[in-house]
Amino acid sequence: MLLSAKQDWLGNIRGDILAGIVVAIALIPEAIAFSIIAGVDPKVGLYASFAIAFIIAIVGGRAGMISAATAATALLMVTLVKDFGLQYLLVATILAGILQIVAGYLNLHKFMSFVSKSVMTGFLNALAILIFMAQLPELLNVTWHVYALTAAGLGIIYLFPYLPVIGKILPSPLINIIALTALVYFLGIDVRTIGDMGDLPDTLPIFLWPDVPLNLETLAIVLPYSLSIAVVGLLESLMTANVIDELTDTQSDKKRECKGQGIANIGSGLIGGMAGCAMIGQSIINVKSGGRGRLSAMTAGVVLLILVVFLSDILKIVPMAALVAVMIMVSIGTFNWSSLKELRTNPKSASAVMIATVVVVVWTHNLAFGVFTGILIGALFMAQRLSQFMYIESNYDEATDTRSYNVVGQIFFNSSDKFISLFDYKEAVDKVVIDVHRAHFWDITAVAALDKVVIKLRREGADVSIIGLNEASETLLDKFAVHDKPEEIEKIMGGH
């Protein structure tokens, strides 16, 4: 353990530090933009990004992942900030952190297995759309200068990398910021700048307990926000951890990551920062820049803080258009463009789940609601499919005037109506035998359906007997672990 910890920290020092610097530069405009989304001073997002990146480097479960202030969490704070102010946001941030730690101890990360690929794609697409929409206030009712600057900024961001040599060394988003700032400053163009959006950090952060009454009333105000932040933060963090696991072909400790996100948020709240979580885009930039260890996130946090504290006077005059250009890049980069093509090729149900997730998120501005919707719809589709795995054979024996039904397959809440409808109640027979030994009753709805069938048949005057009920109802016992063994699974898939 000590050795792997050493490897995590010191296994890639040069790569991690370089990547950390690249990430820090990319984090600054995002942290400012997300502060503006949340409706707080840029310094709130910048302090948060420092605290979260720094703390998660130590306590996180996924080396190489970058966490900071994020759009996903910022979007959830808007009304809290508007109605109650910054101090309540800080309390909500700390409480969200506590909830995340609890979630970690409760192993809630295991529920990530319910989040399908379609839901994840929907999550990212919705996030991209929301980031883009958050830029619209900067682009509506403004002079043509803003459009020209934004377009120029996007041009620099996407074309600069094609320049020989320097295009491969210097981060184009940074060049965009420097170029537009210089242009606006020297030509004296009157456009909004970051300084107009609120305070920037001018000192190192200090430890502060939020100035709110600690009572139930406060709790009632912040709890719903904290819950949303905690859930969305963990969702994005665990999703990102999965992406990084896949990219780097390594494992991460998801439980530790949940707790780590919690600790990071508490730390952020205590130095006047907003809540955050892992950032998919930044984490990918980190990996692409060669960051693999814990040192890269820590470097990103420290470099970010140093840059903003010492450069706050320069940051103030950066035009918002430069920032908007960066955020449009982030939005375009976050959106899963191939998912549009896949709409035609993927199963309709998968597309429906993805689109439902996007629609609900864009509508509610809460990624958690979208994810829940996606999971729910996905589960319904799955139940629908499983209910097709059932049929009934029937035979009539003239000698004994006996109708026998042989039930095969899965009977549960969604297939029980179909089960009931497959019996012929109008047939006048003396005896009915229902053989269920190759069927599986998964829930009490299924059992009730069988009861209903028996009663209906009895009313028609038949003597009903059931064969193999014990085997069929084994699945009722909720002991799913029993079915982990191949022979048990074989029983269910192949009949008893």
Partner: protein, 289 residues
Amino acid sequence: MTTIDKKCILACIDGSELSDAVIEQAIWLANNSQSPIKFLHTIEHSHLSEQVHHVGTLTPNMTENLLNELTDEERTESKRLIAEGKTILTNAVLRAEQAGLTNIIAKQRHGTLSEVLHDLELEIEIVVLGATGQNHNGDKKGLGSQLEEAIRVIHQPIVIVKKPFVVPRNLMLAYNGSPTSKKAIEIIKKDLFSTQLCNIHIVSVQRNIEDAQRLVEEVETALSSFNCIVKTTALKGEPVELLTRYQQEHHIDLTMMGAFSHGKIHGFMFGSFTTQMLLDGSSNFFLLR
């Protein structure tokens, strides 16, 4: 006897300087124990990419593109490492055949040495490892980067090779009365090292000489029925220093001792006796867990 029911002598080789010695040591052990010999080469992925871009731009479909790039890069690296390993293994198998062994297995696995040893633990009778590994560029520390972790994960005896192989003439047992050093007596009795042919030095270093004396007598009694040349020495003082000096003075070829009986935290705080012995010692080691 098939390879499945008989545990093997596992020789971990990576083509580094000491691999030759590891191969010879393992062949000799396999000959003595009549166990199958297995040569293991591990393919360790650095998961570090050479093609890094520091532009910090988020481009569309970046995840997929990056995943493809990294996969291609690692595939090339893996293929190269596998091919290299095959050559090393083929050479080792050839030498084992020349030495007259018949039950020879060559194995390649992905992962760090400790991961792979952990996976294979049940198949192992004795592991033979080089004290230094592949990427060892004259590091001051003198021990392979993966050695301690590897020793800690397995519970089978381990031979650490520090110098070219010779048939052991002088064998030292560093005895402190611990359960692992008692195991060593059993190993000696099994005659795994052709111990009857060599001098066995029983050395005990304790804080006071009476304890040391008592301990060496304990071993003498235990080995009394066993036909071999035993020389006992009881010493007082600092174990690592005295034991390594003894190794040099008596031209010890192989030192048997218990390893890492304390936890990692203890080792981290106080420094591990085992690590220090491996570092300073001049012989090969036979460690018991």
